[in-house]
Amino acid sequence: MSLLRVTGLTKRFGTNEVLRSIDLEVRQGERIAILGASGSGKSSLLRCLNFMELPTAGVIELDGQPLGRERRPGERIYRESELTQVRQRIGMVFQQFNLFPHMTAVGNVMEGLRTVRRMPKPAARIRAEAELKRVGLGDKADAYPAHLSGGQKQRVAIARALAMDPEMLLFDEPTSALDPELVGEVLGVIRNLADEGRTMLLVTHELGFAYHVATRVIFLADGTIHESGTPDEVLKNPRQERTRAFLASHKQYSL
């Protein structure tokens, strides 16, 4: 059974249609890499899946439950309490980390547990330290984000998402803001999560990483899924002209 099912997802900003009637199914344990040029709608797609942006039209089902309710045909409304529930189940990691600068690393990881889950402080601390250890930052618990490197910040952000026990993880270009020498440590952490069998969607320009880690690759163009298939199909033998052109222009990220 699919964990997440998207039907007819459309997103407009004013008159600008960034997603056009997207259908997508994510099964338990799948790892989907989403590729596309800038402006192809890949970030918007990710942000619609945990309702950071509200879809203009379309239905998103989580565990077979359609989210929101239909007010008029084609138009759904969502309650905030429902969306905060969904976001606890679908973790997100951002390009710019979005760590909270006024809290330490462990404070960042504890924050969701404390404020949203209402977990007592000692238990949250134990859990948060374990997550930091998992991303290799057990010794940085009390450091403030300003004193961490970009790679370390992103690993804290991943620990922060993991602490909420998400059923699925969304990565929005997690290495694009990093200096090249720091990309490896973040990709290493994501690969470990893949090996654990976690369900994840990953927007990335790292084609080699996508090829080795993803179970499926989606190429997005003009707000629609232009091509979709196994990494071998999409990255090695693309059928569509635009996919080929995109891959050719990203040669610097070799497979």
Partner: protein, 219 residues
Amino acid sequence: MKWDFTSVFANTDALLAGAAGTLRIFAICLVLGLSLGLVVGLGRYARTWWFYLPATAFVEFFRNTPVLVQILWFYFALPMLLPFEISPLMAASLGISLNSAAFSAEIYRAGIQSIDRGQWDGARALGMRWAQAMRRIVLPQAIKRMLPALTNRAIEIFKMTTLASAVAYVELLQQGKLIASLNYNPIEAYTAVAVIFLVFLWPLVQFTYVLERRLKRDE
């Protein structure tokens, strides 16, 4: 003309009473002004019209009329609509607090707006509600940036308390007037009042400079 402060020192009691009155109305207006300002500032930031419009009207009205006019309105005009009298302290506190609320509301709004959108994203991605994100993530960071401006506001409030003398509330300037008229020594009396205000406010002003420098360094 010879300076002679003996008649001022002879009235230390009156000045102390004035200082107590100044500090009392300052404390009232500081608390009321800054807390009401937060509510209005959130309204200025709100997306719902029934919160945004009244907040905006409030800010525009109280920022664009003189505070002394507001105080006199509350003292002379408002009682016509009420079944009870308005004391000088009430009238002056109302005028100064509402005026300060309008100004501090804009400080809060600007401070909240200056926080990067990513901070809201990060908070919401963890499943926080709007109010949780505001309280736990956005406000703590915004307050730090707003601190110099809010301290400046506090200084302005302190200076504004002298306007309460216009409705004969007993504060420092009012007592200065009293001493000057009883002893025919306006030079010494008003100089003394000015010096007392300098003593109160000088450290506060220097403190805002420190805050401003620290903020500049940290950002």
